[in-house]
């Protein structure tokens, strides 16, 4: 890795990549994302005389729209890494959302009274537990009864969609609890300018702490460390990115109507030009980021994660090393179910209702996000951050095409084509780097 003779022969770029130890895949994905963003923006500038994509408003919306898929994609990575698949997540999302809808609209108000502060807590717990139990049940069928995951979850796709119809005879359940609906975003479901700055500062510290800790660990055992300039560069880019995200989110103000209502409720005089009240980070994106951090921790720093990847690399070897692969499979599907429960909370809160169509085709977007993010169907390979970026790519394509006024039919075709091409490019990349 640090052979000096080799260093001289390689180009500046290769030396740079080696010093910073940056994942070239990650760079490629960020590059592709930037290309999509700039493409849509300047297409808008040229064709419609207005670039709508790279505006605080659109980027804020994009962050909210991505959240639910991103949460599920982090779990799908582990499922696909262990050479399984989960086709049921979309239907399961719809079913859990329906169960939560019934819980908070029909059941809990009878006992607690409408608007009771515990309603949203109980509802969320019910949703996540419910998702985890169904996931565990599917995992049990896959692990202990040896039914292929494809079949079990294909069955699940039909069963849970049908079940969510049965729950409310196809009715839409609305409106959800006030506090619950904040989880879906919207002007009030945000943490405001100050909150966003605090979150940003915490994250910046977190990044610096990780870098320092990593360096200390390497020094403790005398392993080669990154050169100081590379550490500073990575820290700088990370902190810069966080700062940019905070600024963009804070640059998107509340709509005039919302401000007026808020001012009236709080007896604030609205001056001539209106008041600039920032959205800041939306709650769903904070949840998605939190899930992403926890799942990355789980995948990289715990035994559970190590076993997931070992099973994916060589199931027989994992078994011979004493890993209980059946139990692991069941746990992975239970985790996928719990994450689907969280996604259902976000999706139904955003919609402020539980509808029959909620989550339809989500399984395809979730799988596509994981695969575009570099998760390999051959097993053993995949990253959480890749899947989150993959979700962002999918959602960017989707909403970008809406913004520039593409037909719904064309949108579908483009998303499908991008998925196939992305996997092809990924294969090329792997063949050349292996």
């Amino acid at each position: 890795m640090s052979d000096p003779n080799q260093d001289k022969q390689d180009s500046a770029l290769v030396r740079f990549l080696r010093a910073t130890e940056v994942d070239t895949r990650l760079l490629g994905m960020i590059g592709a994302l930037m290309l999509i963003w700039l493409g849509f923006h300047f297409y808008g500038v040229i064709v419609n005389d207005y670039g709508a994509f790279l505006t605080p408003r659109n980027l804020w919306n994009l962050s909210v729209q991505t959240s639910s898929i991103a949460v599920m994609a982090t779990g799908m990575v582990l499922v696909i890494v262990t050479r399984h698949i989960d086709l049921s997540v979309g239907s399961l999302l719809g079913f859990t959302a329906m169960i939560m809808g019934v819980t908070q609209v029909w059941v809990l108000p009878q006992f607690l009274g409408l608007g009771h502060p515990l309603i949203w807590v109980i509802t969320v717990v019910v949703g996540i537990t419910f998702g985890a139990l169904i996931g565990a049940f599917q995992g049990f069928l896959i692990a202990y009864l040896s039914i292929p995951a494809f079949i079990v979850t294909l069955g699940g796709l039909l069963i849970w969609r049908g079940a969510s119809y049965l729950v409310a005879r196809g009715e839409t359940i609305a409106p959800v609890d006030q506090t619950f609906s904040l989880i879906g975003g919207g002007p009030h479901g945000t943490i405001g300018a100050t909150g966003s700055i605090i979150v940003g500062v915490v994250f910046a510290f977190f990044i610096i702490l990780l870098l320092i800790n990593g360096r200390r660990q390497r020094l403790r055992f005398g392993f080669p460390t990154r050169p100081m300039w590379a550490e500073l560069l990575i820290g700088g880019v990370g902190v810069g990115f966080v700062a940019a995200a905070v600024m963009v989110m804070n640059a998107y103000p509340w709509p005039k109507g919302v401000v007026k209502k808020y001012a009236a409720a709080n007896n604030i005089e609205v001056p001539e030009g209106g008041i600039f009240i920032s959205h800041g980070f939306a709650i769903p994106i904070l949840i998605a980021i939190g899930v992403g951090v926890l799942m990355t921790f789980l995948a990289n720093r715990t035994r559970f994660g190590r076993y997931v990847f070992a099973i994916g690399g060589n199931p027989e070897a994992a078994e011979l090393a004493g890993i209980n692969t059946k139990k692991m499979t069941m746990l992975i599907f239970a985790l996928m179910g719990a994450l689907t429960g969280i996604a259902a909370v976000i999706a139904s809160a955003r919609l402020k209702s539980a509808t029959l169509a909620l989550g339809q085709f989500d399984e395809l977007y979730v799988i596509a996000a994981a695969v575009i993010g570099g998760t390999s169907f051959a097993g053993g390979i995949g990253t959480i951050y890749g899947a989150i970026l993959g979700a962002l790519v999918m959602q960017s394509l989707q909403s970008g095409m809406v913004l520039i006024g593409f037909d719904a039919a064309i949108q579908q075709m483009v998303v499908g084509g991008v998925l196939v091409v992305a996997v092809f490019l990924d294969n090329l990349y792997r063949r050349n780097s292996a």
């Binding site: 190590r306 070992a310 690399g313 994992a318 011979l320 004493g322």
Partner: protein
């Protein structure tokens, strides 16, 4: 401990209790008796070659000892006491380590992750202590294969010999007392084969008992103190390598015929 057919009379008193003894082990898969009432034993510091054609049942027998399969009947004794071995973790608790013919490595993770698979070192927070695992791995690999430097690469990218040394390191790092090597030199060049031979001598000197499994008598004969030959799932016989010739052992492997220097087993050709 009752006297058993395969305990050689010239074992001295200190070694009277075998490190491991497998007695009347049977297992069948869908009506086929893969192993039929097979028995064999192993003493500290001894190398026992387990020989037989492909499909003779030697790998199956040994997988029962390493916990990969659970026997239908028979018993396993470790240090003279009956041992319960129904999964690989049990075997490891008894100090039984295995180097599989396939190496059983997770190809997508690095050497340290493979070395510690199932026995990860944890920090006091309960998280993986990768730095400590890598440091230990560097130490072990330095002893075993000083040329090994690719600690960060997934083992898929390593050469056959390097992969082999990772598998060996994993087997001997956790104070193995009984080492099972399934065709350890099948994928190796002459020089690496020689290294494995040296390693076996060294481990023997440390008092580790070794089962050496091979279908090729030449791999085993010079390294082994004793050979046990299997055919069609049954033990043909056992012999000290000093008491029999290679040709006689070949006769055992091919014909199931027990020479005078060997102790016949249930699978021996009846004359």
């Amino acid at each position: 401990m009752e006297n058993h057919a395969q305990i050689n009379p010239d074992q001295n008193a200190a070694q009277a209790v075998p490190l491991v003894e497998m007695k009347d082990i049977s297992i069948s898969f869908g009506g086929i008796h893969a192993v039929d009432k097979a028995s064999c034993d192993l003493y500290p510091g001894e190398v026992v070659g387990l020989l037989g054609h492909n499909g003779a049942g030697k790998s199956t027998l040994i997988k029962i000892l390493s916990g990969a399969y659970t026997r239908d009947s028979g018993a396993i004794y470790v240090d003279g006491k009956e041992a319960t071995i129904t999964n690989p973790r049990h075997a490891k608790e008894y100090g039984i380590e295995t180097i599989y013919q396939t190496l059983a490595l997770a190809d997508n993770v690095d050497a340290a992750a493979n070395l510690y698979l199932g026995r990860e070192l944890l920090t006091r927070w309960g998280t993986l202590d990768d730095a400590a695992m890598e440091a230990e791995t560097r130490k072990v690999m330095n002893r075993l294969n000083p040329n090994f430097t690719r600690f960060k690469d997934p083992v898929k990218q390593l050469s056959g010999g390097q992969r082999q040394s990772v598998a060996i390191a994993r087997a001997i790092h956790f104070n193995a007392r009984i080492l099972i090597m399934d065709e350890p030199t099948a994928a190796l060049g002459p020089q690496e084969t020689e290294q494995v031979g040296q390693l076996i001598h060294q481990l023997k000197a440390d008092g580790i008992g070794i089962f050496l499994i091979s279908h090729d008598i030449h791999d085993v004969f010079d390294l082994a103190d004793r050979v046990v030959v299997m055919k069609n799932g049954a033990v043909v016989g056992a012999a000290r390598t000093s008491d029999v010739s290679k040709d006689e052992v070949l006769g055992m492997i091919i014909l199931g015929k027990c020479p005078p220097g060997a102790t016949p087993g249930p699978g021996a050709l009846q004359e």
